[in-house]
Symmetry: C2
Subunit: 198 residues, 2 copies
Amino acid sequence: MATPTSAGTRDRMVEATIALMRRSGLSGAGINEIVRESGAPKGSVYHYFPGGKQQIAQEALAFHSRRVLAFIDASLAGGRTPAAKVKALFEAFAQRLEKGAFGASCAAGAVCLDLDEDDGALRETIATAFANWVALIDRHLAFPDARRARSFAGVVLTAIEGAYIRGRAERSGQPFRDAGQWLSEAAAREARPRERKS
Amino acid sequence: MATPTSAGTRDRMVEATIALMRRSGLSGAGINEIVRESGAPKGSVYHYFPGGKQQIAQEALAFHSRRVLAFIDASLAGGRTPAAKVKALFEAFAQRLEKGAFGASCAAGAVCLDLDEDDGALRETIATAFANWVALIDRHLAFPDARRARSFAGVVLTAIEGAYIRGRAERSGQPFRDAGQWLSEAAAREARPRERKS
């Protein structure tokens, strides 16, 4: 039976895994690193996660996915028009990168670029996370053309993942803000009834 | 003195490092993996690269950077208008991802998400590569507003790096093609004299 203390240990190990993945992907989140980062007793990983690294990685990505969903939801709610929502979203991610001193990005993105052919289950977890994030962005923007709306929401996610890469390389939140500027301009046009269709 | 054979071995090791980085970043390009992937004699890494993994990683990223520059240049040249150039560029990257069976992306992007604080030199090499690619895209598009032109060229690179992440997760070239569609629409508008300024 899990005691409050053991639940705390388990949670700390998941949090440590997310933090390590955000820094350097799957390769950075080895069992030894998780034990060190979480301060958990050495033998506890296989006690709490009998499936080992695969299980803890899956749980960490699923937890990360829900947390980012809530972050995107709160950030988009900060704007009143689609254009303002897009701008607020990229500004929130820029600040998230800056707060982490340009050393942490998206756990899903970082793990994704470490995957090999044996990691099909992790890849599917990441693809599901991306699909959920895109669907949420799509719902917030509510563009009139459903097909273009979904495509645009996907491009917003594409730009977030790419801006983390450029932002870490360039140690700057500017790639987020540039993407936010151009995509908010596109969102403003898309939200209007389209002249060429009228 | 390097013989043709030794030059071949050295080149094969750099190529192997690039291939490994494209698959799983810095963590995937260990000395053992480089030896195995290149078929080079075991002792040859420190013979050709006395600086070890750090040196071979630097050379691989610098070589990758020049190769991608040429790829971007050739791809952008395939379009006659800025909008067509942008679309051709993203189509070329979509096909590049598909040819690699969704298992390989950009070495610079993949390494970037593996970096820790001790990897400052590699980070700078990647930042320089990104700056060179953005400057090239900027020159091809030749928008009237120089500040917006540079910002847009950066967003094109942001979208390329992000589309690699989504494309690998979703096993699809569509994230590249969606980004190409939206950014080519923005490019078409930007290339025209702007009505709100006239």
